[in-house]
């Protein structure tokens, strides 16, 4: 058995949503616990703690990561984005608004992780195909919506992005 007490906590400094934050973690503390309970950013949710449900997905250095499968100490010095960084002073961004318009959430528990994965998908490819959306979204479990609204929300942004590209090309 690994024995740790309060005294074994180490300082962890990282950048979260463009802000430098510091907290303390025991060497075995999960990053998800650290973000939620040490940094107080409770928008990242924990659903399974074995990497299947995707609710705890965040971005680290621009890549989507399950925060329940990483230790807090591994995040030292890294650049993290969480769901709290998506909206600007209470104004929903395009993806968030599309989720709202298409009833892409009900209880909202899995939504944070899905938003982070979809943000990454659209950053890397503003016009993914339906199969590409399905591929990435299948890394998340949603128990409320049947995924219909989520797919529609992302598709609506893809259509906008295509229109924009066409506009730029014209």
């Amino acid at each position: 058995m690994i024995e740790y007490g309060a005294a074994d906590r180490v300082k962890v400094t990282l950048t979260v949503n463009n802000e430098s934050l510091t907290g303390y973690a025991s060497s075995r503390m999960l990053l998800s616990d650290f973000i939620r309970h040490e940094l107080g950013l409770t928008g990242t949710h924990v659903g399974c703690e074995h990497g299947v449900c995707g609710a705890c997905t965040i971005q680290i250095d621009g890549r989507p990561v399950r925060s329940c499968l990483m230790l807090a100490v591994q995040a030292e010095g890294r650049e993290i984005q969480t769901v709290e960084g998506l909206s600007d002073k209470g104004t929903l961004n395009r993806l968030q608004q599309a989720f709202r318009s298409h009833h892409a959430l009900q209880c909202g528990f899995c939504t944070s992780g899905i938003l982070m994965s979809m943000t990454n998908l659209l950053n890397e490819n503003p016009t993914p195909t339906d199969d590409e959306i399905t591929d990435i979204l299948s890394g998340h479990l949603c128990r409320c919506t049947g995924y219909v609204g989520i797919v529609k929300a992302v598709q609506s942004l893809v259509l906008e992005n295509i229109a924009r590209e066409n506009g730029e090309n014209a």
């Binding site: 409770t42 924990v46 929903l92 009833h103 209880c107 938003l115 049947g146």
Partner: protein
């Protein structure tokens, strides 16, 4: 007129008020709520056995661990609590922690309260429980046999409730029938598994002997008295609050209530607030489950397919304990056991049995999936036997629109609907003809394609008295009648005219706040954005009754109706005030555009907010009889929800929607995969309050039901070992497996609910699993369809057999215990047999070679005790393994047997090792091994998928180390995997 229409918000698909916060990560879920610095964090020690006596629990070492505040065990409970009350009259005790016996894997045995959860889990590993395992029983049909192991000895049997019902003249119907069609079906165990697990914060206040709890409990609040009785306190000493947001429930979070009691007691013992967050393994293993049910169903039919008599024999499996409100799953549907059909002769035999599995409870559909699986499979079979079209058989038997409201033989009063019209419209709009053509095409090309149909009645708004149908009329008379189902809401208008609403629906993500705002906005002539709705519950302050909560799809019909009535009360008071204020006659008060005015003189008017202000600032101006302030508290129940009558007829639900579904499935002949080609679902849920939210309910319910039909099963081995402890075993549909259904609506408003609405969230849970089963039955032309429709099962039905691998590798050996993990293999070591033999018997060498081995103690002649830490993926923990070697034939053969225990579970295993000399000079050894290991507890729950991978890793590590130590000069060779020690390893490292 158009202008007025713009202001009607009900029935519009408005965006939700809940979403801004949820999308920004600003929702407030139970685990998000900050706790004080003194709060201790709890972890549960759970039974690794399906059935065992507890001889002793030693907590000394665990208590001594730095950071541990308190440990609670079964005997602590006796001073401060009582067993939970039980819904049938039987001498059974269920406590929130096991007393002297455990009855299912995962049953709570002890609670550790520590500085943080990590330390609490460390301490779990240090608690030593001495168990005597008992024979377990898992199958309900075996559990009722005379020689079956009995769970509750005081009862003397596992059969804890039996009732027989007869309505109309079923005997005559079966005598008169042209044909009797019968079948036996089994509905499996599954659960709706919300993504957020249970959370409880409990705080005992010794000064006032009061428990203050915050938990993501969903109701029904009839469980609050159950909890208070268990805590031995009046209900007003248990204050229960719910958080603003909950991460889904679907019935499941009803089952948090034993944990609320447990955490209250933990707080009391620890002398500090205690927080507990359930993890996913705990949730899947031990939270709750829908009931599994065995049903024998018979239909008496005429030759043209009219159902004239119906008979159910239901055997309901409620798991290890009958936990409130069970056996409600069996009785929730009692009034509507005849479904959408007009048959009036009905016989029902209901038996409830206990088995060594997790206790059951609320799950979306609650009783509907089980009942309709039997009834609709029967309707399909009737068509097959009579060589009729299944759709025609359904249509021939539907309750007629002209007979609405319609009284079923067992007492339900169907409120409204035109079932035939709904069926016809669904066939047309969903293009059934095209689907039939597609079936013909696929079949013509040699494929397997089937179409399934289902027609069901979806009950909502439970009668709080239906559960008492489990008792005899005499027992009911003694206890007093139970009926009704109150819905409570308040609408308040403050001194500046802004409106606040509360209600008793404890939503779990559906968007009730949005709908309530729509309802109130319409009545008070405001915008939904002006209305603030708070759905947190505080039982110390809010209006609530036993029927409060989020279950039986009660919101739309009942709670929203109550909100509507409260708003009307406010409007009426304002009208009376306007009459005084404007000095006009009552019938001249007009209300529009947020103004009250004189119908004859629109200039004589007063703004809503000014008038509302008067109620606070100027009570002297109030009409006679009106009280100061502006707050209406409504409490509404439906008079039709009467207590069961002496003949056991009960209107079990207040509203009855209709669902008609059909689907096409194609089955892959090579893989057995069932692919859902098209799904059409027609709903008549009365008036729709927000169509977007309604469709959201249908999509979500459909997807859960698709999971139940195709993948999901809380599966157990015959000895009670649980096998679905992770989301890699319990398979929830992802987007890739979820085609969107075609959703159609009709609207026959309910005459019984204030807004004409009915529940809509549970219909597909009831209709979809059997609709897919009927389609598969049609595709394969067979009756014995069981869920879930796993590929392995479907392959068997088709007759596909796996081709055995052509060569190499460890091949599973069939043995008597089909659930054991078995294998065999061999490897070559570049050492003479004598040397290998010595190394195998050298404890020091083993200690070094076994990964994570802290100590290997020689306990006797060739028997060892090993303390090992295992950490593979999410599975980690300490294990004490006892291994004994026997039948030693030096340098040739040995047999080993052993057992292991630890927080990961328990195991027993056996194996043999055979050494053969090889190589040119006999300087190398071939080591053959085989093994068989049975596991239980946590490690079994995470199942073969993880276990297989973990074994590989550990065995590879073991051999790398064994060979490195044994023959450093020859390592590292490419080892064929495994060794006998794998077996030891298994015995030690991963067993269970």
């Amino acid at each position: 007129m158009k202008k007025i229409a713009d202001k009607v918000y009900v029935s519009q698909a408005l965006e939700r008020v809940e979403d801004s916060a949820l999308l920004a990560g600003a929702g407030v879920f139970a685990d998000d709520i900050a706790v004080g610095a003194r709060t201790g964090h709890a972890a549960f020690l759970r039974s690794p056995h399906a059935h065992a006596d507890i001889n002793s629990i030693d907590i000394k070492t665990a208590e001594a661990l730095d950071g541990v505040h308190a440990i609670v065990v079964g005997e602590d409970l006796r001073a401060w609590s009582r067993p939970f009350i039980v819904g049938v009259k039987q001498p059974m005790e269920h406590w929130c922690l096991a007393q002297d016996r455990v009855r299912y894997i995962g049953e709570p045995v002890a609670i550790v309260v520590a500085e943080d959860r990590y330390i609490a889990e460390d301490a779990l590993a240090l608690i030593e429980v001495d168990y005597t395992p008992l024979k377990a029983v898992v199958d309900p049909e075996i559990a009722i046999l005379k020689d079956a192991p009995v769970l509750h000895e005081a009862v003397g049997s596992n059969l804890i409730s039996e009732r027989n019902f007869s309505y109309g003249d079923p005997e005559k119907a079966f005598r008169d029938a042209d044909r009797i069609v019968s079948m036996k079906v089994r509905y499996p165990r599954n659960a709706c598994t919300p993504i957020e697990c249970f959370v409880v914060n409990a705080d005992y206040d010794a000064a006032e002997d009061n428990y203050d709890v915050l938990a993501n409990f969903q109701g029904p609040f009839s469980l609050l008295p159950v909890m208070a009785l268990a805590l031995n306190i009046p209900v007003n000493k248990l204050r229960l609050r719910t958080p603003p947001d909950s991460g889904g429930s679907f019935g499941v979070k009803q089952a948090i209530f034993p944990y609320i009691v447990a955490l209250c007691l933990a707080s009391r013992k620890a002398g500090r607030p205690v927080k507990w967050v359930e993890d996913r393994l705990e949730h899947l293993m031990a939270a709750t489950s829908a009931t599994n049910r065995v049903t024998e169903i018979e239909g008496a039919v005429t030759k043209d397919g009219e159902l004239i008599g119906l008979c159910y024999r239901q055997l309901e499996d409620c798991g290890g304990y009958l936990r409130a409100p069970e056996p409600a799953t069996l009785y929730r549907m009692h009034g509507n056991m005849t479904g959408a059909y007009k048959v009036q002769n009905l016989a029902i035999e209901n038996r409830v049995v206990l088995t060594n599995k997790t206790p059951t409870g609320l799950n979306r559909g609650f009783g509907g999936p089980q009942v309709y699986f039997a009834l609709e499979r029967l309707m399909h079979k009737i068509a097959v036997e009579l060589k009729l079209d299944p759709l025609e058989v359904i249509k021939r038997n539907l309750v007629e629109a002209k007979d609405m409201p319609y009284r079923t033989p067992s007492g339900a009063l169907y409120d409204s609907g035109d079932y035939r019209k709904a069926v016809l419209e669904a066939c047309k709009k969903g293009n059934l003809e095209a689907l039939k053509k597609r079936r013909d095409q696929v079949r013509g090309a040699g494929g397997l394609y089937g179409i399934g149909y289902t027609a069901i009645v979806e009950p909502s708004i439970s009668n709080m008295g239906y559960i008492s149908t489990a008792l005899t009329a005499l027992e009911r008379e003694k206890a007093g009648p139970k009926d009704g189902g109150a819905a409570m809401a308040t609408v308040s208008v403050d001194a500046l005219g802004s409106v606040s609403v509360t209600m008793d629906s404890t939503p779990q993500g559906q968007g009730h706040r949005t709908v309530a705002a729509q309802v109130v906005a319409d009545v008070l002539g405001l915008k939904p954005a002006d209305i603030r709705v708070d759905v947190t519950m505080d039982t110390a302050k809010d209006n609530w009754s036993i029927s409060a909560g989020n279950y039986s799809s009660r919101f739309a019909g009942s709670v929203a109706g109550s909100v509507h009535l409260a708003a009307i009360e406010i409007r009426d008071k304002l009208k009376r005030m306007a009459q005084t204020s404007l000095n006009i006659a009552a019938d001249k008060v007009s209300f529009s555009d947020g103004k009250f005015s004189d119908a004859d003189n629109p200039d004589n008017a007063i703004q809503f907010r000014r008038l509302a202000g008067q109620a606070h600032w100027s009570p002297g101006l109030l009409p006679e009889g009106d009280v100061p302030g502006l707050r209406a508290a409504s409490s509404w129940t439906m008079p039709e929800l009467e207590a069961p009558d002496p003949e056991d007829r009960v209107n079990s639900s207040g509203a009855h929607g209709f669902v008609f579904d059909y689907c096409g499935v194609e089955i892959d002949r090579d893989t057995g995969r069932v692919r859902l080609d098209k799904y059409v679902t027609m709903h008549d849920a009365g008036r729709l309050l927000n169509p977007a939210l309604v469709d959201g309910q249908v999509y979500g319910g459909f997807t859960q039901a698709l999971g139940a039909a195709l993948f999901e099963e809380l599966s157990y081995t015959a000895d009670g070992t649980f096998q679905a402890g992770s989301m890699a075993e319990y398979l929830i549909p992802t987007v890739a497996e979820t085609p969107a259904p075609v959703i159609l609506h009709m609207s026959s408003p309910s005459p019984f609910t204030p807004l004409g609405a009915k529940g809509v969230g549970e219909g597909n849970s009831m209709s979809t699993p059997v609709c897919l089963a009927n389609a598969v039955a049609d595709a394969l032309g067979r009756d014995d369809i069981e869920l879930p429709l796993k590929q392995s099962k479907v392959r068997d039905w088709i007759g596909i057999r796996e081709t055995p691998p052509t060569s190499g590798g460890a091949v599973a050996t069939p043995v008597a215990d089909k659930d054991a993990i078995t294998g065999r293999g061999e490897l070559t070591i570049r050492l003479p047999v004598e040397r290998v033999w010595d190394l195998l018997l050298d404890p020091e060498n083993l200690e070094k070679a076994i990964p994570g081995c802290r100590e290997l103690i020689v306990e006797g002649d060739h028997s060892y005790r090993a303390d090992v830490s295992v950490a593979v993926g999410p599975v980690r923990g300490d294990i004490v393994a006892l291994v004994k070697l026997s039948d030693l034939d030096p340098s040739k053969f040995l047999r080993l047997g052993g057992s292991a225990d630890g927080p990961l579970g328990s195991s027993t295993g056996s194996g043999t090792i055979l050494l053969t000399a090889t190589g040119a000079n006999g300087d190398a050894t071939i080591l053959h091994y085989d093994y068989s290991v049975s596991l239980s507890g946590k490690i079994a729950a995470v199942g073969g998928r993880l276990l297989g991978g973990a074994m590989k890793v550990l065995i590879k590590r073991f051999f790398e180390r064994f060979i490195r130590i044994a023959a450093p000069e020859t390592a590292p060779a490419g080892f064929p995997l495994f060794g006998w020690l794998e077996n030891l390893l298994r015995a030690i490292g991963i067993k269970r």
